[in-house]
Symmetry: C2
Subunit: 600 residues, 2 copies
């Protein structure tokens, strides 16, 4: 079992060679930062993740939270880890100095969070949800709400949740039934039931700040009638400290396949005692506020899937180097020494596929984080706008592609271990179970596909997709070596065909057969994702080729050669598979659309 969470060399490559993160320090918001301060905070994250998060990852999986004596109890290490995370300032890492934050770029915070997610996705869930909820209150909450809730959340004294899903509605937010009735004192009385609420009950913090979606009596039907409320576990007293128990209560713990260390709860609101909620922003605008949090969460899911995939890759790579078994096909001497299994071509295939998936996804997530930074802090307003457009377009891809291919990487990691990988004595089966959540939560990948093909691609009259094509074009032109030019050519060809298919689908969406055009949205998402990841590999290969001309030695040369070989794998083994996706999309193949319930 390796101690390595993410490959630091790869992280430096992404941060400083592919993305030029150091240049962010020229921007006003980050003037007090430097590559040294970024590295110091990254080293702190790596260390805390290894010392406080990783050691109880398997333990918390085996010994999941329990409901006992009216309380949800869990292993003590979870709180110790959370405390270490917030004491090191990570919850407020992105925020202004005046809020007690570190004013770190998103790119750097994302890198830091990668270590925590790789070390222990379940325990990471508590602070990450808190950050996401705090951010909604920071942006949309009233001054009073910020005074009461934001500061304790940033300090880790209060934790946060997103309480959206209801048993009868699932992903369909239009069908939310929880009600809110205004009371004279300014609060609302909330009544309803929520399900799959991560972190909805525990004793890790002094208070839990639930952001609850509900419908004010008389509101319009559907998503236009959804409002958002702060619903704390304990109402605050006049000193702003947790006082009376509020009527949001545990109806049951949900037992999951993985991510077992994160409590998943069914909550009942206003059933036994009054449940007070405090409106965020305006009535009926809840969906908008929710999407602030949801979009962040979607990027987080993609990165979590990448980190778990990455961790499994690190484990299986170490195992393949240590474990000796079998011989080369040409070695017929049974008395010769067995070779490390990394020598077997099929094991190398499984490792290289993992590398191409997780490092490709990692590059994409870091690129996405940089778009957040550019949207927030680029000095040129046009570039800020463009970054936002690109980020919106890529959000479903950043959520879905890593959450498909991260689990695939973990599947391969198990197979590298063989029988050992199927046992609970080795860590990769947990990676695989944990990662299986990621294609489901924060909008299933099917929903991401509808978001991409039904909405994002056409947003702003296709402005975003033009920006994306432009950005890719730039990197196609940067290809200088024969090899990179060949890959650039493949990508360019695929891109052109994808553009044509997009036009075909756009026409169908606008005209005769919108449902038929949307029916293969998942295929479109896969196509789009593979193109974007191929682009990420071309960017990495361009840098690697340039570095290799400087004639580096030893491990440096090996690192760049590895990048090129993984790029080769992606361009030879993965990108061409979209040929079939293109055919299905172009023909609007109706094999699935035409299937009838009664034929199953």
């Amino acid at each position: 079992m390796t101690d390595t969470l993410l490959n630091r060399r790869d992280l430096d490559f992404q941060l400083y060679e592919v993305l030029d993160t150091a240049s962010l320090c020229d921007r006003e918001r980050f003037t007090e930062h430097s590559r040294e301060t970024f590295n110091a905070v990254i080293e702190t994250a790596d260390r805390i993740a290894r010392e406080k998060f990783a050691p109880h990852n398997a333990l918390a999986d085996q010994d999941e939270p329990r409901f006992e004596d009216g309380k949800v109890t869990m292993r003590a290490e979870v709180k110790e880890a959370m405390d270490a995370y917030s004491e090191a300032g990570f919850i407020a890492g992105r925020y202004d100095y005046e809020l007690g934050g570190m004013q770190l770029p998103e790119t750097v915070m994302t890198a830091c969070n990668g270590f925590f997610m790789a070390a222990n996705p379940s325990t990471s869930g508590y602070p990450f949800l808190t950050t996401a909820a705090a951010n909604v209150i920071r942006i949309f909450g009233s001054e009073q709400q910020q005074a009461l809730y934001l500061q304790p959340m940033l300090e880790g004294r209060f934790t946060g949740t997103m309480a959206l899903t209801e048993p009868q509605a699932g992903s369909s937010l239009a069908d939310i039934r929880t009600t809110a009735v205004p009371a004279e004192q300014g609060h609302y009385l909330i009544k309803g039931a929520k399900i799959y609420i991560s972190g909805g009950e525990h004793e890790l913090s002094d208070n839990i700040v639930n952001l609850v979606l509900a419908r004010v009596r008389g509101a319009p039907e559907g998503v236009k009638g959804i409002s958002m409320f702060i619903v704390p576990k304990y109402r605050l007293n006049e000193q702003g400290e947790p006082g009376d128990r509020n009527g949001i209560e545990l109806a049951g713990l949900i037992h999951k396949l993985g991510y077992r260390g994160t409590t998943s709860t069914a909550l009942s609101l206003g059933s036994d005692r009054e449940c007070h909620g405090y409106l965020v922003g305006e009535e009926n605008q809840g969906l908008k506020y929710m999407f602030q949090m949801m979009n962040e969460a979607r990027l987080g899911v993609g990165f979590g899937a990448t980190a778990i995939g990455y961790r499994g890759y690190m484990h299986s790579l170490e195992y393949a180097r240590d474990r000796r078994q079998g011989r080369h096909p040409s070695d017929k001497d049974p008395s010769s020494q067995p070779v490390p299994i990394i020598e077997h071509a099929d094991v190398r295939r499984m490792l290289l596929a993992q590398k191409s998936y997780v490092e490709g996804a990692f590059a994409l997530c870091m690129y996405g984080a940089r778009l957040v930074d550019d949207h927030n802090t680029h000095p040129d307003e046009k570039r800020r706008h463009e970054a936002r457009q690109l980020l919106d377009l890529l959000t479903p891809v950043i959520k879905a592609w890593p959450s498909e291919y991260g689990p695939k990487a973990n599947d391969l990691a198990i197979q590298v271990y063989g029988g050992a990988g199927y046992t609970r004595e080795y860590p990769v089966e947990q990676c695989w179970r944990d990662n299986r959540l990621n294609p489901i939560h924060e909008g299933t990948n099917g929903i991401q596909a509808m978001d991409l093909l039904g909405r994002k691609v056409w947003q702003g009259g296709g402005e975003a997709i033009q920006l994306l094509f432009g950005a890719i074009q730039q990197d196609l032109q940067n290809a200088e070596t024969e090899q990179c030019k060949q890959w650039a050519y493949s990508l360019s060809e695929t891109l052109q065909q994808a553009g044509q298919v997009t036009q075909v689908l756009g026409k169908a969406l606008g005209e005769e057969s919108p449902e038929k055009a949307l029916a293969n949205a998942s295929v479109y998402l896969r196509l789009f994702g593979h193109i974007v990841i191929a682009w990420m590999w071309l960017r990495q290969a361009n840098v690697a080729e340039a570095r290799l001309t400087e004639n580096p030695q030893g491990s440096e040369a090996n690192f760049y050669q590895g990048k090129l070989q993984a790029a080769k794998y992606f361009f030879h083994w993965e990108l061409p598979t979209v040929a079939q996706d293109l055919v299905i999309l172009r023909n609007m193949d109706d094999s699935c659309f035409g299937m009838k319930d009664e034929w199953f």
Copy 2:
């Protein structure tokens, strides 16, 4: 949670419409059978599987076997199920009447076992391992060994195991170190360690008959020096009843990701007390005997993977029909009633993909079982020989394709359930965990790929592959409708290209670069598997089209339409994906082969 284990209509289709199993009754061995007796035994299997196996499938997963007070204890339902299985005569189902058997064809026994594996793969493991071990003793054991061990095994009083794997050797049987030293009384003294031995310790039977691979002192190195021994848990006394404890003892239980109800053990032989082993057949012939059992086991693994995949499909189909959520994209009225999720195109995609995987794999496994019958009982010797050749060729495909695509089906089943599928309150996550073993055990799929490309394809100077091409050709010619002819054309084209690629690889194997040619064996296996499954779908489609001309009504017409749509899915969405495999193989792409350890 559905009560349906396998679709009976589909089973009848495979047995009586695709395979004409009733015609087996014309063969001498089966003259006392008829479609009625076949159906009676199938109904018994279905009933016992539902009543005795399915109810404790989840319970035994949650409450796995424990080592307590020197014994391995487990839930009482496991023994009740095993007893019901053997009392109904299934352990001896294939065997001669004089051995107390039912002389059932393999095709029918396979069908029966499908219900047990779908109901409870873990509990099924005990009787299935017993049947496999009994068969080795029946074929290769001495008369005395048969008298002592075979009968009690067929009655379920003794159970069996395959004890091959050792900690240091894993899949590499050449590196087995367990030793056997002849003693004067005719037995051998065995010393060594075995790992991952399913059913190696428990209290389900009066005795456990382990078939152990070991090396007689002075034997040649490698696989040529392996012998097989019967090593019972209790030595038999003069009455043939279990007497003294033999020195094969539990070193530890292995805790697995799935298949938790089956004990997986580390065994220590001859460490504390003498371990007596009784040679099966001749010294140094163990590998041959082992392959008798192993080949059966590989077919069993493929069918198990199919059955678990099938069960998950049945669950998710029921759920998709029951669960209402969301609306059609064109329905903008949020007050309209949500639709069953099977109405969503993407859910239909996930169900249809499952159907195409599990019914395709099911057809292949039944075809394989029929080859066993033809090899054993076909009146024409040439046909017996041919059946054996085909079966040998297809064994790695029957093992590997379902064990790749069964788990994929289970993955889709989870996704159909959404958040619910990720919880342990619903049955599909267990299917997925259980099924993950199948690409690993009885030879990993990587080993199957080497077996296929490195050995089976060239066996008998390519006789088997010619037979396969001939068999496929027959079904290509049987295509009568426009649609089937189109699919036949696609298949025929792919087959031709695969033939060319096979020649290219054959040349490389014989000449300059055998290791490079073998490096992409897994891709070859995937190509081969997809072609075989496409063939299975063409066979089914040919029958369905023929039946539809008879103008069936209602559910019968729907059943055949469903077959055609699933065939369409396979021919439009799956078969074309091999284009990329063909390119990789033809070019002997070295992306993986060329990757170096130090570049990772």
